[in-house]
Amino acid sequence: MLLKYIKKWCLFVNLMLIVIFNHPMAVLAAQEVGAAGTTRPLWFWPLILFVFCFALGIIAVLAGVGGGVLYVPLVSGFFPFHIDFVRGAGLMVALAGALAAGPGLLRRNLASLRLALPVALIASTCSIAGAMLGLYMSKLNPNLVQVCLGATIVGIAILLILSKNTEKPIVRKQDALGLALGINGAYMDEATKEEISWKTHRTLPGLVLFVFIGILAGMFGLGAGWANIPVLNLVMGVPLKISVATSKFLLSITDTSAAWIYMNKGCVIPLIAIPSILGLMFGSFVGVKLLSIAKPKFIRYMVIVVLLFAGLKAMDKGLGLGILG
């Protein structure tokens, strides 16, 4: 009975993966570009986006990455939308996910405000600069944004391959800045019923890295969990659980500032953004339910492959080579 249930869900996940990797909707999307708005019913495009993003939401949770980092390269690569609107929607997708997750993380004290607030101020200020720079680059030449986006996505894929996060990093002595800011805390590890105290080291280099993370997040509308977690965990020595929770909470602040820039510029089209947000959110809920029976490691590797492909495709598109179709 259990085996049958698992098989059923695995089949479902595989189907979802096929949807993403073979992107049949993208084929439809491509076919529709020429005939846009002629014979299709009103709900055609929103439905395609919703289903696509629903699948992305499942995959994102299983692979342990944020929605934005998958959404922007895949939707910009396979859908006919201009990169300006994809980035606007991508930020809203990442923001909605972070806002929905935020309350639970704060109530359980997993997201640390003492850690998040200084980091958020740096990252959100820089994400405004990144958003403005990204929009300026796009105005100059959208292909330039595609190439830079592609290179960033390839970089993220490599980062995902190489970074080996540490559950409980050893911090022997807190540095002066971390001490002055009082960046420390304690939490209960539910699995081991152990109280774990933590503090930071290398606080200044960590904060400086958030300058670059903020700029990249704003420039490409990616969200930034892929970078937040390694910096908090590997550079600053924050336990993985606190890093993941604080990173998710951070996104709700960093993405807000960049999202406002895109929104005020007119880059958020509700017809694109809303089904994307809802699809990814509902997909994430299903993804969480599937976590216990799926093989996250396998899915994570597949996502890395997809990111590599999406990154190379964006570069290919930006450079006008046409090698990857």
């Binding site: 529709e32 708005g37 935020g102 704060l106 004290n109 607030l117 959100s124 405004i128 809303i274």
Partner: protein, 142 residues
């Protein structure tokens, strides 16, 4: 467990208030997006920009798109709130404004505790987000 550890394991009251307010705001925003989107696509509230015009132009850059569809930027969408497409911005904007509102709770909390450094950080964050939201920086004309 020592007193210090026990203290740092407990979230401050403003953090819980932040979480509660964020929970309500985020889900109201999402619910509003669902409702307004239904009103928009269901044709119950007529849009400012025809759907076909959107699909024909969403492959163009934002400046060209706004010009062709005669769409506003910045906060000018408020003038078109009675139109189906711009009505959708109510939920979207609510999501984007929640962090600013919630931060006000933190400012009050840090002030009460006389934690002036974090009070200043939270205040600066509100300023940064308010500037971004104001449209001063991002709403260049077309």
């Amino acid at each position: 467990m020592n007193e210090q550890t026990q203290k740092s394991m407990k979230p401050m009251p403003e953090q819980i208030a932040y979480a509660n307010l964020l929970f309500i705001g985020a889900w109201v925003g999402i619910l509003m997006m669902i409702i307004t989107y239904f009103l928009y696509l269901g044709g119950i509230v007529s849009p400012h920009v025809d759907l076909a015009l959107i699909t024909q132009n969403w492959n163009k850059g934002v400046d060209d798109y706004l010009q062709i569809t005669n769409s506003p930027h910045g906060w000018a969408w408020l003038n078109l709130i009675n139109k189906g497409d711009f009505l959708n911005f109510v939920g979207i904007v609510l999501l984007a404004v929640m962090t600013i509102i919630c931060y006000l709770l933190l400012i009050a909390g840090y002030k009460k505790r006389k934690d002036w450094f974090y009070f200043f950080i939270a205040l600066m964050e509100v300023v940064v987000l308010a500037v971004a939201a104001s449209g001063i920086l991002g709403a260049g004309g077309h």
